[in-house]
């Protein structure tokens, strides 16, 4: 059984643990073994917490043995993006400036994961402070895409996506500021969900851009995402922007969607997020997916969001502006790296400058400088102020589009995974990879990427967007599409991954 464990989806594994077929310790050990076997190639993990995970697993097993009623994902191991603080486990956000820092507290979502009995396998690699679309900006080396080790796993949550796609973890936590859950999901063939802004507490997420950041699930199936989303979501009084009402019934929506009936549902194709600029195979898979949805009874309509063309520009003013302020606390005074100036007097200001100079990578410095400029006196109105106005216009676009359609859809990313270095020297080309995911962050609406086929042997993602607080709709549509496509593939898309072909995925 052990060798098969890592091929199970989280819901399958949870069921096996619940009925005693597999113990949580066995499940955890199987994934730790898999990490030991493949992570030297993948580099998805920055820190593996084997002892802590096995202790949690043993606790779950004994609680189960004593007949205790446990939660739906109890005992199922999980990986957590390193931007989420974990008490007692090193947390670096992929940056040298936090090397060796061990937080004294848990993020709210980590508290919930621990309370629900999910062993935490470790912390996953990412672009430094979540800035990037390829995980090439990590201070700790690239994460590789399990589909092709010469290609990027997406970013910033490349580590979480690669861990799930590489069968190192059945579940992972990501964070999405401009697409960092969905784009890695698309290029690794995994499911990635950015919940409604405020749907999952941000308390304990090392902030990049507070008004855009959102944590969410990275999984192999839509149902798994729903289970994890319900576990980590819901109101948190420690996050002022947390929505003070229950999250919708996501698992029920996913189960309903999997029955394959979408009659009466209006699916809006966003004109501005399809067509030009998309790789041919990406566009082809998108069209096929629309056909699949139509076959399930959905009505496909075209909607226009005219201000989406300015989304990238607005994003690249608001995000760096907030980041420049959020990252100011990394100054060598209280935690993390501290570098004294090589020569001259050791003053607080010079220590801060030396620490930040040595601790931050190029992309972080680029965005801090950009954001500082955008907020500076005399430029605020022209840059930050204008960007906020564009944001309002994009929110209005969404409102108008959702008046015509229940969900909106597009390809998740314009291309499949590109090769390492291909866009590293061209920040603007890298930024363009998030063109379809960014509008959802600006408007705070939920978004999901579901694997919808291959293009030249690499995974493609299908993005589903829903109105704020209507996350259940996208779970319904995502599960329906997943079920329909898997029928045509004869199993999960991940089973087609080259290095995984020998170990047939059972579902």
């Amino acid at each position: 059984m052990t060798s098969d464990i890592t091929r199970l989806s989280a819901s399958e594994l949870a069921a096996a643990i619940a009925d005693g077929t597999v113990s949580s310790v066995e499940a955890t050990r199987a994934h730790l073994d898999r990490i030991a076997e493949v992570d030297g190639d993948l580099n998805a993990f920055l820190h593996v917490s084997a002892d802590e995970a096995l202790t949690t697993a043993a606790g779950v097993d004994s609680r189960r043995a004593s007949g205790e009623e446990l939660g739906p994902l109890a005992g199922v191991p999980i990986a957590v993006k390193d931007v989420v603080v974990t008490q007692g486990l090193p947390t670096t956000a992929g940056s040298k400036i936090l090397e060796g820092w061990v937080p004294p507290y848990d993020a709210t979502l980590v508290e919930r994961i621990k309370a629900a009995g999910l062993p935490i396998l470790g912390k996953t690699n990412m672009d430094e402070f979540a800035m990037g679309s390829s995980t090439e900006h990590s201070a700790y080396g690239n994460t590789k895409n399990p589909w092709d080790l010469e290609r990027i796993p997406g970013g910033s949550g490349g580590g979480s996506a690669a861990a799930v796609a590489g069968l190192e973890a059945p579940l992972a936590i990501g964070t999405d500021t401009g697409g960092s859950i969905r784009q890695p999901g698309a290029v690794t063939g995994t499911v990635g969900v950015k919940p409604t802004y405020g749907g999952v507490s941000r308390y304990g997420l090392i902030a990049m851009a507070s008004s855009l950041d959102q944590a969410g699930p990275v999984t192999r199936t839509v149902l798994d995402a729903a289970l994890l989303h319900e576990l980590i979501g819901g109101h948190d009084p420690r996050d002022s922007t947390s929505i003070a009402e229950p999250i919708p019934a996501l698992v029920a929506a996913a189960r309903q969607g999997a029955t394959g009936d979408l009659r009466g549902l209006r699916v809006g194709v966003v004109k501005e997020l399809s067509g030009e600029g998309y790789q041919e195979g990406v566009s082809a898979r998108f069209t096929e997916s629309l056909d699949a949805l139509r076959a399930l009874g959905a009505e496909i309509v075209e909607v226009s969001c005219p201000h989406f063309v300015y989304a990238l520009d607005a994003y690249y003013l608001i995000m760096p502006a907030e980041a420049s302020s959020n990252l100011a606390k990394f100054d060598g005074m209280r935690f993390g790296l501290r570098v004294e100036p090589a020569e001259g007097p050791v003053t607080a200001e010079r220590v801060m400058a030396a620490t930040r100079g040595a601790g931050f990578g190029d992309e972080v410095k680029r965005r801090v400088i950009l954001g500082t400029y955008a907020l500076s006196a005399g430029y605020y109105d022209a840059y930050y102020g204008s960007a906020q106005k564009v944001r309002t216009l994009i929110q209005r676009d969404f409102a108008a589009a959702f008046a015509q359609a229940d969900v909106l859809v597009s390809p998740t990313a314009p291309t499949t995974a590109f090769k390492f270095g291909e866009k590293l020297d061209d920040p603007l080309a890298m930024y363009l990879n998030d063109v379809a995911t960014i509008p959802a962050n600006l408007a705070g609406v939920p978004g999901m990427s579901v694997p919808n086929g291959l293009s030249d042997g690499l995974p493609v993602g299908f993005q589903i967007l829903a109105p704020a607080k209507a996350d259940d709709r996208m779970y319904r549509v995502g599960a329906a599409l997943e079920a329909a496509l898997e029928k045509t593939w004869g199993g999960p898309l991940l089973a087609q991954a080259p290095e995984l072909k020998t170990t047939e995925l059972t579902r």
Binding site: A209, S240, A328, K329
Partner: protein, 503 residues
């Protein structure tokens, strides 16, 4: 000979004859909430360094602020007491600057959307004149931590070997109250400044929003002063003297800045817009950093906090629950007590309003209460250099003392001895009277024995009195009082002596 532009001071009287001073005062008050502005760390004075902190007030990665509802309520109370409008919706902003005692390297403050704006208060000057100060705004923010520089001289950063930071104060809620330019104070500008800050302090205490203890830095004032040739001229360049933390220093700061700036202007120089520091020991201000327009805090709305939107109902509820403001209360009490203006001012200046009020509540007449607190007790307090309110006697005990006199149990002279006993911790007045045996001898039998003895000792006086000359009777009374060790009622003794002689 012309004075160097900055070296000399112009005599204050000359300075205010030639220039019209304009003030601007920013008062910070630390709110007396149980927890900090944005987290659940306790607010308490004097804890071990860095023990009253959470990940939020330490600015740890991932931590998020949540607004303290009580702090908002206190800010609204202050705004209402200052006759301000309360915003229907307002936001916090980030004020970005790097400094080790600012844990996040930005301060969460209110910038262009204060919770309260456009108000006023009337302050009473020493001669009873009322001066109105207009309020620009009152906004909420968080305090910074505290740096201690070790190894340099006198705790200054210059020459220090290292610095320690204590974040216990970081995140304590503050309300900052900013005046509009205070014009028309003329030569009384220093007094106006002091009276304004003092009035605010009294209001904070009356509202119960802060202990408002200046010596603990609960209330700090930044004092802006500028001079112009005359009241019709545009405002001059101002200086801002930071963190002045006593009433007297506020007054002295204004006085000094007027004299100093007048000297600069007289010499044909220009006042530099800058931050200055007040030195209590030498009574002067010295320049801090130059404040130019280049200072860029890169304010932007705090994205981690949703707007604060106090409901109209809540505001009205708070308004209805406001206590009587100190000025109105003083007017009411003065009426009730029938004190003259000067008497009331003395009582206020002595900090005796509450003491007298409580003493009157204990059953004493206002005149009786004033007699004790502004007389005997004020004298003793001055002698021991302590505040009236800190003396080891309660208003209830003074009321009891006064009642013992009214009942004839003791007389004024004995009362002072009883007070000695109370202050020495011997208990309430009645207990002291008992333990020290200080009752007035009112038993006529006992008195008559002493009287007869005195009469017998001085038959010549008895004769004179019988002859119609009452003058010498005092000698008999004195002898009786002496014999009873002062514990007799002199009036009664006189009656009895005259009765006896007439027999």
């Amino acid at each position: 000979m012309t004075a160097a532009p900055t070296a000399d001071l112009v005599a204050y009287d000359d300075a205010v004859r030639r220039y019209d001073p304009v003030l601007g005062i920013e008062v910070h008050v630390e709110l007396g909430t149980r927890t900090k502005m944005f987290c659940a760390a306790e607010v308490e004075f004097g804890g071990e360094p860095n023990t009253q902190t959470t990940p939020v007030s330490l600015g740890l990665p991932g931590a998020l602020p949540v607004v303290n509802g009580t702090a908002v309520e206190y800010a609204i109370r202050i705004g209402l007491a200052l006759n301000c409008h309360i915003a229907e919706s307002c936001r916090f902003a980030r004020k970005n600057y790097f400094y080790p005692d600012v844990p996040k390297n930005f301060q969460t403050s209110q910038y262009d959307e204060p919770i309260a704006y456009d108000g006023w208060i009337d302050i009473e000057l020493e001669d009873g004149e009322i001066f109105r100060v207009e309020i620009e705004r009152a906004h909420m923010e968080e305090d910074a931590g505290k740096n201690t520089h070790v190894g340099g001289t006198a705790g200054r950063i210059h020459g220090a070997e290292y610095s320690l930071v204590d974040y216990n104060r970081a995140g304590i809620p503050l309300v900052e109250i900013v005046t509009k330019p205070i014009e028309g104070a003329g030569d009384r500008a220093p007094e106006v400044a002091r009276a304004y800050v003092q009035t605010l302090r009294d209001i904070f205490r009356a509202l119960g929003v802060s202990e408002a203890r200046m010596e603990r830095g609960n209330v700090r004032a930044d004092v802006n002063v500028s001079l112009r040739p005359d009241p019709t001229a545009p405002l001059g360049t101002r200086t801002e003297t930071k963190n002045v933390n006593s009433f007297r220093s506020v007054e002295r700061t204004v006085r000094h800045e007027i004299s100093r700036q007048a000297a600069v202007l007289d010499a044909g120089g220009t006042v530099v817009q800058e931050t200055r520091h007040w030195h209590e020991d030498t009574g002067i201000t010295t320049p801090g950093r130059v404040k130019s327009d280049a200072e860029d805090y890169r304010y932007f709305p705090e994205p981690d906090l949703v707007p604060v939107t106090p409901s109209r109902e809540w505001i009205e509820e708070i308004r209805a629950g406001l206590p009587e403001m100190p000025a109105a209360r003083r007017r009411r009490l003065q009426n009730e007590w029938g004190y003259a203006d000067a008497e009331m001012r003395d009582v206020v200046n002595a900090g005796a309003v509450e003491l007298i009020e409580a003493t009157v509540a204990g059953g004493t007449t206002p005149a009786g209460a004033r007699k004790w607190w502004m007389g005997e007790l004020a004298r003793r307090a001055k002698q021991d250099d302590v505040a009236l309110a800190t003396m080891a006697v309660t208003p209830a005990q003074i009321a009891e003392l006064e009642q013992l006199i009214a009942a004839g149990t003791i007389n004024d002279k004995l009362a002072r001895q009883v007070l000695d006993g109370v202050l020495a911790g011997e208990g309430d007045p009645a207990a002291v009277v008992r333990s020290r045996g200080l009752e007035v001898v009112s038993d006529d039998g006992a008195l008559l024995a002493a009287i007869d003895e005195a009469l017998a000792a001085q038959p010549d006086i008895v004769e004179k009195v019988r002859g119609g000359n009452q003058g010498p009777v005092g000698a008999i009374i004195g002898a009786v009082m002496k014999a009873t060790k002062g514990q007799a009622d002199a009036k009664r003794v006189r009656e009895l002596v005259l009765e006896r002689i007439a027999q």
